[in-house]
Amino acid sequence: MRVRVELFATLRRFGKSFEVECTGDLKDAFLAVAKELRDKGDEFLKEIFDEDGNIRKDRIIMIDGRNIKDELIELREGSRITVFPPIAGG
């Protein structure tokens, strides 16, 4: 399925938005983005995954607006995956 991965704040050094093919697994979507980034791919993966290969706890990741820590909803055709580093304000 085709999904869109959008990056924000400091993660935009890799690009703003990526349309990728993936199996339906969230991790797979990020691997697809890394592939597109070629030699910057490894650096990108370090921003998303920890040393154990799990998604970093300090990332704010939403699928169609729903934070994956609240509910991991299923990816569908056209889903928007948004990734933020730790940010805040008032």
Partner: protein, 613 residues
Amino acid sequence: MANGYMDRILIVNLSDESIRIEKINLDIARKYLGGKGYATYLLYRYLERYEKEGKYPKDIDPFGEENVLIFATGPATGVSGFPEAGRYHVMALKSPLTGSVASANSGGKWGPYLKFAGFDMVVLEGKADDPVYLEIVDGSIEIRSARDIWGLNTFDTTRILSKKIGDKCSVACIGPAGENLVYYACIINDEHRAAGRTGVGAVMGSKKVKAIVVSGDKRPEIAKPDEFREKSKKAIEKIKNNPVTGEGLPRYGTAILVNIINNAGILPYKNWQTGYNKDADKISGETLTEKYLRKRIACWGCLIGCGRGTEVKEGCFQILNTEGPEYESIWALGNSTGVMELDAIIKANHLCDELGLDTISMGSTIACAMELREKGYISDEELQGLDLKFGNSAAMVEAVWRTAYKAGFGKYLALGSKRLAEMFGNPDLSMSVKSLELPAYDPRGAKGIGLVYATANRGGCHVTGYTISPEILGVPEKIDPLTTEGKAKWAKIFQDFTCVVNSTVNCLFSTFALGVEDYAELLSAVTGFDLDADSLMKIGERIYNLERLIINKLGFDGKDDTLPKRLLQEPMPDGVAKGHVVELEKMKEEYYKLRGWVNGRPTEEKLKELDIP
């Protein structure tokens, strides 16, 4: 006096030009700390005195002699090494906008400089016959005529008054909006910092006080310098190493929130008709940094530096040297009004600082007028040429100066959205609580902040208890924004802790990195008081309840702890929160139980438990 305080409260009666100085009462300081807490205590004592004299709280005229305006610092303000201790708190007995207590907080350097001038607080009673300004320099006080500067904008006022003193001074002043008693006029210090909300600038204007200039070489002394040095080092490391305070905020400022709040489906669009705007990136922090940022700006003693020095180099909204806008200002002047041009928003924000207007109330009142017009409640004739429709950037910018000068339709905008909407026939289109316009988070998609809006003492306010932090940002932990479970507990904890921060007085952003234990350690070393996390939270709870007691006397109770009809009854039309409303009653019931309140009023047992007043 080595406890952080300067041990001097300046009380000026403007009606008879008398000046008196009182010492800090340490028994009160142990209970209420300083800043907001001590000011709230002083306001309560004024209310008690007025009641004995037969003047009832509900009869107090916000623009009358009996209103009291207090500028308050805390024991930590101006203490070098105390993280982010450059702020001060302003309170008045009654806000002209809300009728509730007026309360606002500002950064820059005015707070520390008041202490360097030798004072902890300035209390303004009565009102002057002719415009005056106060000059507080190295412990001495002068009340000077402001005839020559009345009418000037905040920038000119600041520059003229600063020149008389020299480099090391700070000016807090009002602009034309405060002089003209616009209900949400603010106090501006250091040109671009604002004690923004609830019309404190209008109260200052009603007293005919144009400015307070502060300067001096005194320094607060602290109780345990060695212990403080150690705790300070630890706290500063936490702030530097925390990803929010050490990288996110310094790099992007608060505007970084635009995209995340929009993606969470709760960035109110076109006067809260929905919570998602596909074009939000046009006015985001990322776009601000890329196209308009000149430099980072920090308040006194601040390591974070979230302030933005910005410029619009060309075009009809050109402004070459300005600061901001913050997230709330971008949202209110932009997304809420449908204006997606960041240069217009920057210009409008600049005008708000120049003329002395609260950006949140300004933008929200414009958005309210836009929806009233769209739905046929305001005619074109009544607009007198101001084409207020969603997305019209030129009209939005024009509305700002028209409001400050009450010119044309501006005289209606100057009343705030609640009175405007009532006047033109649909009060439900004012997105406000206790007449204070709501800030930039739709609680249909973050239920906890809805409870905070409803129960905040000064009116619809997010900084009173910023539950967006756990609900959306995941700090200190992630909680589900779409449920009501547990939100009452979070609201209470955040509200009580924020009272501590506003009484310390330092910047709320420190709390992304520091917890109440850190505050207890630092404050113990500064004041010599024996404080721990529990006793500090008790102080916060006491302050919140005393402030609630004041607003009960002013006529507010459980019926006023509510939300606009749109948020209670109109399901969110789209986005991740589609179909949701705010189930307020459920959360309120639990909240009142936790608070020990009945119908929005603290019980006698609760007051006794907290030793109030």
